[in-house]
């Protein structure tokens, strides 16, 4: 009993003195919520993927059957490839277009920098659904572009290649995710020590050599960050392919959603989700590795 009291007092003393313990105590509510709402559900998702659907319930005998279907069925495999392909294209387009913009904000805006940053981040916070919907209106058969060109007399009949195909998905995603690319690149450009550029100029390097040998390599972490931040979530995008993709632009998330909705085969949906995350993970690691190697070879 007395020992218990003494132990309690020692624990209290330790708690008061130890920064780490107090920090952890402050962190614990947030962590508890994140573990319950993130780690536990993801664990259960993984568990579910090893079960199988039996009528209205699930059969909890562990099996790899769902993965065999998810990876083996040609339609699903085609969707995996298409999702990765669309996301990779979107990532490339978005990052290439964003780089000069980020460069402009970091080096050329001066006192108006804050205003530029706000203008570039407003779309980031506003409704994703509405931004995607706007593209459906623009690209549609009777949409903004077609009706605009028709009423100007530039085309005789509506262009059909605009909506309901992978092209529409790429355009829409590239637009919707643009703010995600600018910020990481901007941050890495902003961090570059300006005296390095001055030194290079003093030593006779022209603007192009300065860019290729200093600015570009030093901003690569931001480029890689931007690419990952776009590539990973867009492979799992549901809204855009559902609204503008048509049957040719369906992505893996659309079939995952079906398993949890109309088809009601949760184990298969779980396996498709885990398999797609694994595919994205592998692709991302390969990409980051390749980029790092490229960065080393520049220097």
């Amino acid at each position: 009993m007395a020992e218990g009291v003494a132990l309690g007092a020692r624990l209290r003393r330790f708690y008061r003195r130890s920064e780490g313990a107090r920090g952890l105590a402050l962190l614990s509510p947030t962590m508890a919520i994140m573990v319950t709402a993130l780690a536990a559900p993801l664990g259960l998702l993984a568990l579910y993927s090893f079960w199988s659907q039996a009528g209205y319930g699930v059969d909890t005998t562990p099996t790899l059957a769902q993965y065999a279907i998810a990876v083996g069925r040609p339609t699903y495999r085609a969707l995996f490839y298409r999702s990765l392909e669309i996301s990779a294209t979107v990532t490339l387009v978005t990052v290439l277009l964003a780089y000069p913009m980020a460069y402009f904000v970091a080096f050329r805006t001066g006192r108006s920098k804050f205003i530029w940053l706000i203008l570039l981040t407003i779309p980031f916070w506003t409704s994703y659904l509405l931004r995607v919907f706007a593209w459906k209106l623009i690209l549609g058969y009777n949409g903004v572009i077609n009706s605009g060109l028709l009423s100007l007399g530039l085309i005789g009949q509506p262009l059909e290649f605009l909506l309901y195909n992978p092209f529409a998905v790429v355009v829409t995603l590239a637009h919707a995710w643009a703010p995600f690319a600018i910020l990481p690149i901007y941050v890495s450009l902003e961090k570059i020590d300006r005296s390095l550029l001055e030194a290079a100029a003093d030593l006779g390097d022209g603007p192009i050599r300065r860019f290729l040998r200093i600015t570009l390599p030093l901003s690569l972490p931001g480029v890689i960050g931007a690419a990952v931040l776009i590539f990973v979530p867009t492979t799992g995008d549901y809204v855009t392919p559902a609204l503008v993709g048509g049957s040719g632009g369906v992505m893996i998330s659309n079939v995952i959603e079906e398993q949890f909705d109309k088809v009601a085969n949760w184990p298969l949906g779980a396996a498709l989700a885990i398999a797609s995350m694994a595919a994205v993970g592998v692709a991302t690691l390969l990409f980051v590795g390749a980029m790092r190697a490229a960065a080393r070879s520049i220097r």
Binding site: E19, T30, P41, M101, F104, L120, I122, V232, L243, F260
Partner: protein, 270 residues
């Protein structure tokens, strides 16, 4: 001469980029005032009837009420959680702090559909019925990382010795929090409340899985998209939502930078 020429080209590109970013979205307000059920050129004259039609829709108002409720609760909960975490991570040397911070930002890297279905599985196994509260839980998951980012940068920005002085002068930890930390962090707290509210208010996919028979505003909009004759009213609603979100973002970023020196101002993520 050559240098200014290059700078001009870049400025032109930047303006073009900005136009590309905004113009597609501006078609929503443009056609919301167009007096035709078809969303196409040429324009047919000015009308506000789509706004009247939208405001008279009971289902829309119900969904709006739901979204406001979910947004308010989500903003409060995630800001409190964010504040605790930000205080811990900026003021104490927490063992494994970086890893824990990385863990909390994980939801930004996981597709929303995966977050949605895995929460659906958890709630289903736990026997918890879907409701607006389960939507709040899902939204907190994606809002906490934003709250932590906003609040950490605010707490990092002011001098730790102010808190130490308060403690040295005999205030308790609790009073120091209320009389020193809280007022200094207040702009960050307001900004975090606004931004997490917007994220929750505009979020569709997670709510779609977790709302059960209830509808939030984005779920309501999603349901309307199937009916072409309802689209003009959706445009009117969308235009108002975009305007409100943009205004809140500007206020949030402005508040967050109150008392921050000109050159040190930043927006979330940069």
């Amino acid at each position: 001469m050559r240098k200014s020429g290059r700078g001009f080209g870049l400025l032109l590109y930047a303006l073009f980029y900005l136009a590309l970013l905004y113009v597609p979205v501006l078609f929503l307000p443009l056609f919301s005032f167009n007096d035709s059920v078809f969303i196409a050129f040429p324009l047919h004259g000015f009308t506000t009837r789509w706004y009247a039609q939208m405001l008279a829709d009971g289902a829309m108002l119900h969904a709006l009420g739901n979204s406001l409720k979910v947004g308010a609760i989500t903003a409060t909960v995630s800001t409190v959680l964010g504040l605790l975490a930000a205080k811990a991570l900026t003021r104490y040397r927490v063992p494994g702090g970086d890893a824990l911070l990385g863990f909390t930002s994980l939801p930004l890297f996981i597709p929303d559909i995966v977050l949605g279905i895995s929460l659906l599985i958890l709630l289903n196994l736990a026997g918890i019925p879907m409701s607006l509260l389960t939507v709040v839980a899902g939204h907190c998951l994606i809002c906490v990382p934003f709250a932590i980012t906003v609040l950490m940068s605010r707490l990092d920005g002011f001098d730790k010795s102010l808190e130490e002085a308060s403690l040295d002068l005999g205030e308790t930890g609790w009073m120091t929090f209320w009389r020193v930390t809280f007022p200094l962090a207040l702009p960050g707290i307001v900004s975090s409340l606004l931004l997490t509210f917007i994220v929750s208010f505009d979020e569709f996919l997670i709510a779609y899985f977790l709302a059960g028979s209830e509808a939030t505003l984005p779920i309501y909009i999603w349901g309307q998209l199937r009916f072409p004759y309802k689209l003009p009213a959706v445009l009117a609603l969308g235009a108002l939502i975009l305007l409100a979100s943009a205004a809140l973002v500007v206020i949030a970023e402005w508040v967050r930078n109150i008392g921050v020196k000109d050159g040190k101002r930043a927006v979330v993520g940069a």
